[in-house]
């Protein structure tokens, strides 16, 4: 496994990890932009723009784009989150130049008004779809509650109102600021020739002009507010808890992800034994989401409405026990083994490895091998996790719940 990286004069970074025996190659563009980089009036523009990228360039229309991807058998997609927009594809190694050329061209889209108007409908459909999925809706609204006026609370999808009102000029303006070469990383992983990859990227992207693409970073402890939304059409009670955690740049992020697993993995965790195993809740999970300069622990629990008070008591009990007594060695060992085996399995496919590779660079300008990450996880001690609990008590959370019943006083 050989890692190489190069930065073009305009700031675009190219990274590659060569796995000569892989049967496929994954490649992607990581754009350091997302909902937290939006102002309220353009809420949802990053995600809408991600859709518009597929509508083509001055020389390629949307049909040609779709046919070009399918014609090389690419498994491709894109996603937008709070602080990244990622475009990725896996192909057979011989098609890497084709897919790299295609994505590079698409990073300079036409953003035509007629395409914009049609795609607006698709976005509105997507907003409607997520409204019918309370497990997503509760998370989205909990994030807004927890982060308050901090931009990490911004909705990725936007609202019917903001998307409905959005003008193509606003999107073009956002694009020109955020898709500057100095805000992009082109990553590839698998069976590849890095030098040829660089030449190709440079030939298409080398002349793009850099621009100011800053992000304001501020630490925020969360509002610690409580809110319940009564929705009579729901069958179950959906709960989301969010508490502060370390950032992606903090080396303690490995301890944070182990803590998430100890509390909320779907097997053998604290939530599992006290909520799922006795069938008090059918789903209960916690995970660390470490972000740019900030972080959070997210819990999601789903149960029958009548069980919600019991669930609240149990969770409060778990959190106060953790703050009082910390974790046990045995829990840490199991969490490590699960994390390590997940990391190993995932990295056996270039498509699984590309995200870790890209995000490490986007956040920390660092290359970490799988072995580096494994060593970091192995080195975590019970004390490390307990210190994290002391500094970021899981009991200091914001909570949003949704269910068919009214609630006079917050349960959590």
């Amino acid at each position: 496994m050989i890692f190489k990286h190069r930065q073009l004069e305009n700031g675009l970074t190219i990274i590659g990890e060569n796995h000569p025996h892989a049967q496929t190659t994954a490649m992607g563009f990581f754009v350091r932009t997302g909902s937290r980089d939006e102002t309220p009036e353009i809420s949802g523009v990053s995600h809408f723009l991600e859709h518009m990228i597929f509508k083509g360039t001055d020389t390629l229309n949307w049909q040609q784009v779709n046919e070009a991807f399918d014609g090389i058998g690419a498994k491709f997609n894109a996603f937008t989150a709070e602080e990244n927009t990622v475009y990725y594809a896996a192909v057979l190694p011989e098609f890497l130049p084709d897919v790299a050329r295609l994505w590079s061209q698409l990073m300079r889209p036409s953003l035509r008004e007629d395409d914009f108007n049609i795609e607006k409908n698709v976005i509105l459909q997507e907003i409607a779809m997520y409204k019918d999925m309370p497990q997503f809706d509760v998370l989205d609204q909990a994030r807004a509650l927890h982060f308050g006026s901090h931009p990490c609370g911004n909705s990725t999808l936007g609202t019917e109102q903001t998307i409905g009102d959005l003008k193509v000029e606003q999107m073009r303006d956002y694009f020109s600021r955020r898709y500057a070469p100095n805000n992009l990383v082109a990553a590839c992983c698998g069976n590849l020739d890095f030098d040829r990859f660089c030449e190709l990227i440079e030939s298409i992207c080398g002349h793009w002009k850099p621009a100011q693409a800053d992000r304001s970073l501020s630490v925020f402890e969360g509002t610690r507010q409580r809110k319940h939304i009564q929705k009579e059409t729901l069958a179950r009670h959906h709960i989301c808890l969010i508490s502060p955690m370390v950032s992606m740049q903090d080396p303690r992020r490995f301890a944070a992800s182990l803590l998430g697993m100890i509390i909320g993995d779907d097997s053998g965790s604290r939530y599992f034994w006290s909520l799922v195993d006795p069938a008090i809740a059918e789903a209960a999970s916690m995970q660390a989401e470490t972000m740019d300069g900030i972080g959070a622990m997210y819990s999601y629990i789903c149960c029958e409405p009548a069980a919600a008070p019991k669930v609240a008591d149990i969770i409060k009990g778990i959190f106060s026990d953790l703050s009082r007594n910390g974790i046990q060695e045995k829990e840490l060992t199991a969490a490590k083994n699960k994390v390590l085996s997940a990391m190993t399995l995932k990295s056996e496919q270039p498509m699984g490895r590309i995200f870790g590779l890209g995000f490490n660079w986007v956040y920390s300008r660092l290359y970490r091998t799988l072995a580096d990450d494994i060593a970091a996880v192995r080195a975590i001690t019970v004390d490390d996790v307990n210190q994290l609990i002391a500094e970021f008590p899981p009991g200091l959370y914001s909570c949003l719940s949704m269910g068919p019943d009214a609630q006079e006083n917050p349960l959590f």
């Binding site: 959906h238 097997s267 997940a342």
Partner: protein, 409 residues
């Protein structure tokens, strides 16, 4: 790379299959037993959901807690699934832990504790999950349409029915396990890094003495209604649609796969282009092939707002019907490239390969090599696909909707 398939049959008939993979440190294994939903007595739909949870609540000499602790310590990623015909349990892990993991799984499958006090939470979880479907209409509509499309008892929802789950007892589930865990019909597969003789020796010791129980596939009865609607005041109308096609054993299987791929294989496919890209009717629309041993379908889902539901259904059905009028050479070529590419991507995942190997053996009685599949995909021609579409013109659809109001077929 030259492909190798390891195979062995235990004295009781259980089949052991292995597909080694180069350059990986992991392995995945897969047990398939004929204990799917169609096999249970009347009034027991959903028993598989309960059983697949109950099995893991203690086995051999270990109670529930100890068992889960050990599975976690070994870093095992486990999964189980139930279809109309089979119950499968699978695991992915670091290869070094294989012997310990297989020994545990042998306990789980052959000497589960199945204690009374552990039955109730398993049953409650199944009831909760069924109730949770009301908050997941996208999933629920697929079950609704499946229930109408397949003949009884192959149409039973795997999540079960409320009355059945509420009346289920530990004894009924124990009897189902006793009868349906027919080890002479079990298929075991493994992919990744493993030592085949050692695996066979271990399985021989743990399974060879367990005899068959004579499980047979139940006879198929009649199918349900052509259209069902469930009222729901959600933001979207969820449309599930199924149409009959030949099964995986049919010589025209690769023609079917090419047809599905032209319809829904990628972003240039007919459904995505016509329903989403040109008309902006949907965010999610797609079709896939699904097969049981004697029945198969192309199953399609689309979710849209109520005002656009009728047009979405009409345009979707039209895409199926228009396929027989012809397609371009490029469309067929893209479909073939897409299918072959999917195949190679799956070959990098030990979990996908283990499931694929067991599935092939179950449906076909043999395991296809990747080379063979590639050749068959390439052998689909314009004329063979047109001939298939002439014989299967997609005239008949079973449809289900969940949303504020019904639509017209």
């Amino acid at each position: 790379m030259k492909e190798r398939l390891d195979s062995h049959r235990l004295s009781n008939g259980m089949v052991i299959l292995g597909e080694p993979m180069a350059d990986v440190e992991s392995a995945s294994f897969y047990f398939l037993v004929p204990a799917g939903n169609a096999h249970y007595p009347e009034g027991c739909s959903g028993a598989g959901q309960i059983i697949s949870d109950w099995l893991f609540r203690g086995a051999g000499s270990r109670d529930s807690r100890t068992l889960i602790d050990i599975l976690d310590e070994l870093g095992i990623h486990r999964n189980s699934s139930i279809t109309a015909e089979n119950l499968s349990v699978s695991a992915s892990l670091e290869s070094a832990n294989l012997p310990a993991a297989l020994d545990l799984y042998a306990d789980i499958l052959t000497t589960p504790l199945l204690e009374d006090d552990q039955f109730e939470p398993s049953r409650q979880l199944a009831i909760h999950e069924l109730a949770g479907l009301d908050d997941d209409p996208q999933h629920k509509v697929r079950l609704l349409v499946t229930e109408q499309f397949y003949p009884a008892p192959y149409n039973r929802p795997t999540e079960g029915k409320k009355d059945d789950l509420e009346n289920m007892t530990a004894d009924v589930c124990r009897r189902i396990i006793q009868r349906q865990f027919d080890w002479s019909q079990c298929i075991f597969s493994i992919a990744g890094k493993y030592d085949f003789p050692a695996i066979c020796a271990l399985l021989e010791k743990r399974f060879a003495h367990l005899s068959g129980t004579g499980v047979e596939r139940p006879a198929a009865g009649s199918s349900g209604q052509q259209y069902t609607h469930e009222a729901n005041e959600g933001a979207q109308v969820h449309i599930g649609l199924m149409t009959r096609v030949p099964t995986i054993q049919d010589s025209r299987y690769y023609e079917i796969m090419a047809a599905v791929s032209i319809l829904s294989g990628g972003m240039s496919s007919r459904l995505f282009t016509e329903v989403r890209e040109k008309r902006g009717l949907c965010y999610a629309v797609g079709a896939r092939y699904q097969s049981l041993k004697d029945h198969a379908a192309i199953s399609c889902y689309a979710g849209t707002t109520p005002e656009q539901a009728q047009e979405t259904l009409d345009v979707t059905v039209e895409q199926f019907r228009r396929l027989r009028e012809g397609f371009s050479d490029e469309e067929l070529h893209r479909a073939q490239i897409g299918l072959k590419s999917t195949l190679i991507m799956q070959s990098e995942s030990s979990a996908a390969r283990a499931a694929g190997v067991a599935g092939d053996y179950y449906y076909l009685g043999k395991v296809r090599t990747l080379q063979e599949i590639r050749q068959k995909i390439d052998s689909v021609s314009r004329s063979s696909l047109l001939a298939f579409l002439n014989d299967n013109p997609f005239d008949d659809f079973t449809v289900a909707t969940i949303g504020p109001k019904p639509i017209q077929l």
